[in-house]
């Protein structure tokens, strides 16, 4: 089994994740999706690997950041595919994982 690719938000994007939209402020969820998550998600799919998103090491996350990033991904791809490809590491705030999975499910429902 292939080892998962790892995408660290703190190391590869920002230690201070921001709001939902790029127009609202820096380090937004939309920007994370556009500049990091989408490419790595597609790479992982192509290679038949999982993508482990490491959420630790940041100052924290607004719900809108997480929803824009992961819900946004699930508005472009089937929720089942997103959930099948992504794994999450959140030792700092373990409850975030279930929050994100809910956003992915809700995004599909809302789309």
């Amino acid at each position: 089994m292939l080892t998962p690719d790892v995408l660290s938000v703190a190391r590869e994007f920002s230690k201070t994740p921001g709001p939902r939209a790029e127009a609202e402020g820096p380090h937004s969820g939309e920007k994370f999706l556009r500049t990091r998550l989408l490419k790595r998600f597609l790479d992982a799919q192509r290679q038949g690997r999982k993508l482990l998103v490491d959420l630790d090491g940041t100052e924290g996350y607004a719900t809108s950041f997480l929803e824009a990033a992961f819900g946004g991904l699930a508005r472009n791809f089937p929720a089942a595919t997103v959930l099948d490809t992504l794994e999450f590491k959140s030792s700092d705030e373990p409850y975030l994982v279930s929050e994100i999975k809910q956003y992915i499910a809700d995004a599909r429902k809302a789309a």
């Binding site: 920002s14 230690k15 201070t16 994740p17 921001g18 709001p19 939902r20 609202e24 402020g25 820096p26 380090h27 940041t58 100052e59 924290g60 996350y61 607004a62 719900t63 809108s64 950041f65 929803e67 819900g71 700092d92 705030e93 409850y95 929050e99 956003y103 809700d106 995004a107 429902k109 809302a110």
Partner: protein, 261 residues
């Protein structure tokens, strides 16, 4: 406090104002941040004033960072316990949120570092102000004020966020029966705020996947990730931890959110 704010706002048209604080026995961060928002708001009315006679209140006012924004006749010592930041609502500022929290943790003698729920609270407040405070017809963005105060004796950090926009109920969009009930006065805003926090009111954007910010702050309170969460919005005062949601008379124009960690 809402009556004081209403009077103060009315008086901003009559200048100058002398703010007599001598009789103030208790002052809290939410009151301080609201006061500075009023005194240093968009209206350029000159406001002068004095200090509370009660030493604790006077000291708290000085330590809060209030006088980083309001000039005094005599110099006051620089504050190392509190900080107040003022911005226009055009931007959400993650670095400002992070800086405030780290300042507060250090001032309270706590281990410097991240506090995720606190950070989330500030970003959600900034974001709400950006998206809702001015309303759709506003020509200019509102200001927001964020304050942090570290208390070394209690090991607690108090955070207060205020904007002087149209408030939650100025931008909320109810649908279906809730809209009807509210229109005929059958349901109070205090009940609606509780529904907003419980995630039972759809976002004003109309997108079902949005509007999760305040519900998450609420859950952070329920799960004790933050403490002593209070919300004042329009005509509602909510002591969220105690589950008290009451109607304010007169109401307040804007939103104040404060909590402790």
């Amino acid at each position: 406090m809402s009556a004081f704010i209403a009077d103060f706002r009315r008086m901003l048209d009559q200048r100058p104002i002398y703010l007599d604080l001598r009789g103030v026995t208790t002052i809290t961060p939410d009151a301080i941040v609201t006061l500075v928002a009023l005194v240093k708001g968009d209206r350029a009315t000159r406001v002068r004033g004095n200090f509370p006679e009660r030493q604790e209140s006077s000291t708290l006012l000085i330590e809060s960072g209030f006088f980083d924004h309001v000039k005094t006749g005599a110099p006051v010592p620089r504050s190392f316990k509190g900080r107040i930041e003022k911005r226009h609502s055009t931007r959400v500022e993650p670095e400002t949120a992070s800086g405030l929290i780290r300042f507060g943790l250090e001032a309270a003698g706590l281990e410097p570092g991240a506090h995720q729920a606190c950070y989330r609270g500030l970003i959600e407040c900034m974001s709400n102000t950006h998206n809702h405070a001015s309303g759709r017809s506003a020509r200019s963005p509102e200001q927001w004020w964020a304050m942090v105060l570290g208390n070394r004796a209690t090991g607690r950090v108090q955070i207060a966020f205020a904007d002087t926009g149209i408030g939650i109920f100025g931008s909320i969009k109810l649908r279906g029966l809730k809209k009807v009930y509210r229109a005929i006065g059958a349901v109070a805003n205090s009940k609606i705020l509780h529904d907003v926090l419980e995630g039972r009111v759809e976002s004003s954007t109309g997108y079902p996947y949005r509007g999760k910010g305040l519900p998450m702050v609420y859950r952070d309170s329920l799960n004790k990730r933050i403490r002593s969460l209070y919300i004042i919005a329009n005509d509602v005062f909510a002591d969220v931890e105690r589950g008290d949601y009451v109607t304010l008379r007169p109401g307040f124009t804007g939103t104040i959110v404060c909590w402790e960690v």
